[in-house]
Symmetry: D2
């Protein structure tokens, strides 16, 4: 909604730089009485943590979260939310002391170095400062709170494409995701990707990816026309993640190639009296409001801009120069974006759940 | 930002239904002293107006805008904005009286009929009510005000794909856009599209499209990390337009297939001391902040859901049934979305211009 | 919340100048299914309408409201809200054509003339433009919608002081309010005020007033610590009314003189199991949250600044000069502020009702 | 603006409970390049710190602030803001371990105990939890940042009334304020207050107070009609402080007793070409916009509700009971509200400075 706050009733404010003492989030507007302890959050942070395979950055961060406010024991001794702001904090422990001379004065192509300087006239250049992917840990922590609020809603996500290699949707298996370092739902893609990414990594290069996030169990009716559409807020949320360049709902960009007959999902009444949609090109959203079908959202992450090949750039003083970005970077930063996309979906849905309940009482 | 308001400092609130007495917008936060009269707005409304070719709905609307507040003559007698809310109003003149029995009780697949009922328990079914594409006239009117605020920024847009047929970017010519009913920048595509859409129209079918919006002259520095990113607000704005299912910035979804070397736009210093980017995969935005390059945004519009072919659906009472949607609909509603995309780009940029100036004084 | 919008979930945006073609309000976020027609609103506008006694301005305005959107007939044929924006519009009919030469170039002391020019460099000087008390008609119209949302809550207000003359609280009678042109709950005060105001009026002078607004039936629990306190939003709402200079909740400014024993309202359990407070110094709000007692709010309105006595001022060109403000002004503008205070109370409560329901589900 | 966030462009979010591990604030939207280190903030926290005289709570808190993000060294080595969120954190060090059995189950009259339970069904009862005056340390910290943004604006405040005893305005001396534990601008009042408060304290009672905050150096033009008025946002800010029951701008509630001639501040042109107002009943604000005169705001703080006298109340189980509140409380909590009022004034002004600059470019 504003600079560093996201959401309307369920609101998340994040703060912190890659190489400062800590990063964190304040979650405001959370309903009271929701069971919440640090383990509930840690499990999601652990999924995002770097250094877990050779395909993500080798930076080692414990990413241990502390809850500093907003929870208390209820009468049964269980720790629950109180309805007041939940402050979450994660210490930075592996800000490797190094020479930042290069990126201090040179603008890395594809990075926010130039634009931060253009906007603010100053930037914390250490490890990317505020624009570092490290900030996404705060999102994952806040998203874990949102999940607890959502109860019956299941949110999962998968990597569906790395470079030119897509998963085979015919063999999609959600259970597979925990078994490989790519969050791949397709066992066969794991081999292809391993081989492909090893090559990319050894070349000092990087590559992009596409992530798909699916929420099941969202009732019909969440969302709000016309400038609070559910898909609009999802697009905003996903596009706010570092390095994201495109967002799709349901059929997405390919909707351009569909005919009206193909696109308009037909409806039948199910045995339980609820509508059954015969397809889901809408991605579970019509007119900005949920249909009761799974919410399906995809986003593309550009390749890591930090690569070993020398790149033409300029320096702060306005001279042409070259830069090689060394350091502990991800050959495919899209991999670690998988839990981040889930978190953003959870935050958007929690917000719309409360907004819908506020306006309609349901 | 909220239900029917968009923007932070430059804020637009729209209201009105397809078949009510009028629709309108309130533009709040506009800088004072900006020359503005009804003709400045009308010219953009005229570009969007339906009934101008056989490829858009035959509904006939004058779409004549009235400014009801927020302007006054300055000392030189010129009408300018006063800094107070600008109320814009457009009468509905062609709400054809007809029998809505069919869509009153049946949910049109691909439309918001079912979801509005699920959310609110009631809906104005006449012509789609609030969810009608008619509402986009309010956006175009508000966007015209935003353009005046932006001064040196040029915002243009084009249709780049209809169904499977794309424009040839090698022959892109902005001047061509005013010469054809498709807003096509490629003269050759006009023939292909004419033939193709005639077939679609005669079959009572419809098809999707992709629109590209480009803003030139935006200085480096607009936008705000991390939840007020310029691309994020553009994604939100475009996804809020009826029937949009995907949004891309720069390389967009295809960023997934790029390598780091291909993606990271290299930089040189120009003769004027300003940076020159050797490519624009970033679409003019890095870290959520403008680079000074053209801002490039694309969005996909799904095919009009109102088609002549009978479709399976359910009624309000929960019975299986079929529906055929007659009426004056667009075979390719994406065509009329071209000026709407421009308007949303203008509103987002005007808002970020003021936000940037507020925080930094520049 | 922002320039011309008020509220969070139940949101009101107003627009329009005193001598433009019309004024209006857009009410967004209203729950669906609330019975609403123009008569529901008109009754409140009629209470505020000028020209009803010699103690308010003699401007004659019909103040007839039109609902332009956001309502529809439900299945029983009753007109109800649809949950989409409700556009309310009131034509200006008595913008007397006159010579504004004087206030065009001179700044009336006590008015916003100087500050609007200082801020915007331009202003619509006709009748005060945007800063005219005429704008409060939009608030009353929006407040009428809020009342319908609030159901069981009763909101009433009274004039409790004019100049030095206060009502006698011992003889307070709400029924008396409709019987006199002052909204006085004390029959005896009517005589005193009549005599006093006649003198003020004949002297071409004016005087201030205090209004008390009381809401009964608000359940315990509305409001939100710490920056969304119910009393804070009431203070904001009342202070936003033209000419208001002070706001009090419960004991108000006199709380400074109380001891802890006097101030802390003691509690007993009632026969219905609900708490009974033995006094109400808190004005029905503790920690920013409603207690279930009546919400009591007072605000002071300064005397009309437009008076017949000549006043020292400056002109736009920066010269010392004098001004006499002729025209159809209120000797005590506080009288007409009574229904406005009620309306603002209703809007704040409707917003907090929805916010509370959103966060807690109750 | 929302639950625990305040401000529009310069935004403050606070979190934390009285007896949790820490409290803090996130300041978002701060302009870049503003010199800021911990000492700049600590000096203001030290003024508010409890335990500095026998007239405030004896709780001993170091109130040492840490800046966790949003600052960096500029090229000259000075630590400045970067434009990204500034996280401020204060450890709680004196959460005395004690038996909270009494307030755990009984509702203290005048406290938020009952209303938090009514709203949330749960509360952190230790030391008042979120509703503790301890939270105001976060405001003071954030206000210190706002002051740095405001540059040429001087913000000072004074205690002007304790119980029935007011300062003598004829002998007002700002320099006196640092010389006494009451922030009194009147040396003579110190004796009266000392004697009076000693009596109150020994009786185990408490008493209310009035604070006056004055901002000098604010240029004409800040503020925004009609729902972003400067006085409205001040009223909101002051009323959000714990225990405040009334807010006044300029003449305040006494405006009711003034005539138009007395109230409307006359204007002359000064030697520097700037307007000179011959009085300041407006408190420096007309039509919601600053006049260039000093901004004058007062607020009343109710007496501390925690007193030694037994008070009738109820318990959670719904039984009548009595309570005596022991503990380390302030006989006049209004004293410590003086730096808090200053901080809130600074935050509101900083926000309006940026908002004004955003809209008008000045």
């Amino acid at each position: 909604m504003s600079h560093n706050t996201f959401g309307h009733l369920f609101r998340v404010t994040t703060w912190g730089e890659s190489h400062g003492p800590a990063i964190g989030a304040v979650v405001d507007g959370c309903p009271p009485g929701v069971a919440l302890d640090e383990a509930d959050i840690q499990v999601h942070l652990d999924r995002r943590r770097p250094g877990q395979s050779r395909f993500t950055t080798q930076r080692q961060e414990a990413d241990a979260v502390k809850i500093l406010s907003g929870v208390f024991n209820d009468t049964s001794g269980r720790q629950v939310t109180t309805g007041t702001p939940i402050a979450l904090e994660i210490q930075n422990t592996d800000q490797r002391s190094k020479d930042y001379g290069d990126i201090k004065d040179k603008y890395r192509p594809g990075h926010a170095d130039f634009t931060y300087d253009a906007k603010y006239g100053i930037r914390d250049y250490r490890g990317g400062g505020r624009s570092s992917a490290r900030e996404t840990a705060s999102r994952v922590a806040a998203g874990a709170v949102a999940r607890k609020v959502l109860g019956g809603v299941t949110i999962r996500s998968a990597l569906v494409q790395i470079g030119p290699h897509k998963v085979d949707r015919a063999t999609w298996n959600w259970d597979e995701i925990a078994n490989n370092p790519f969050f791949s739902p397709d066992r066969k893609a794991v081999e292809t990707w391993t081989e492909y990414l090893d090559k990319v990594r050894k070349a000092g290069s990087s590559v992009g990816a596409i992530i798909e996030v699916v929420a099941e169990g969202v009732p019909a009716g969440w969302g709000a026309p016309l400038y609070g559409k559910l898909d609009q807020d999802l697009a905003s949320a996903m596009m706010s993640i570092n390095a994201v360049k495109g967002v799709e709902i349901g059929a997405g960009m390919s909707a351009a190639e569909l005919t009206g007959e193909e696109n308009a999902d037909e409806i039948r009444i199910g045995n339980d009296g609820k509508p059954i949609f015969l397809s889901n090109h809408a991605g579970g959203i019509l007119g900005g409001i949920s249909t009761g079908q799974p919410i399906v959202c995809r986003f593309a992450v550009k390749p890591t801009s930090s690569i070993l090949a020398p790149r033409k750039t300029i320096d702060k003083q306005g001279h042409d120069t070259e830069i090689i970005t060394k350091g502990r970077h991800d050959p495919c930063v899209g991999i670690r974006a998988v839990p981040v996309g889930e978190a953003m979906m959870a935050i958007v849905l929690a917000d719309h759940f409360l907004r819908h309940r506020g306006q309609t009482g349901r």
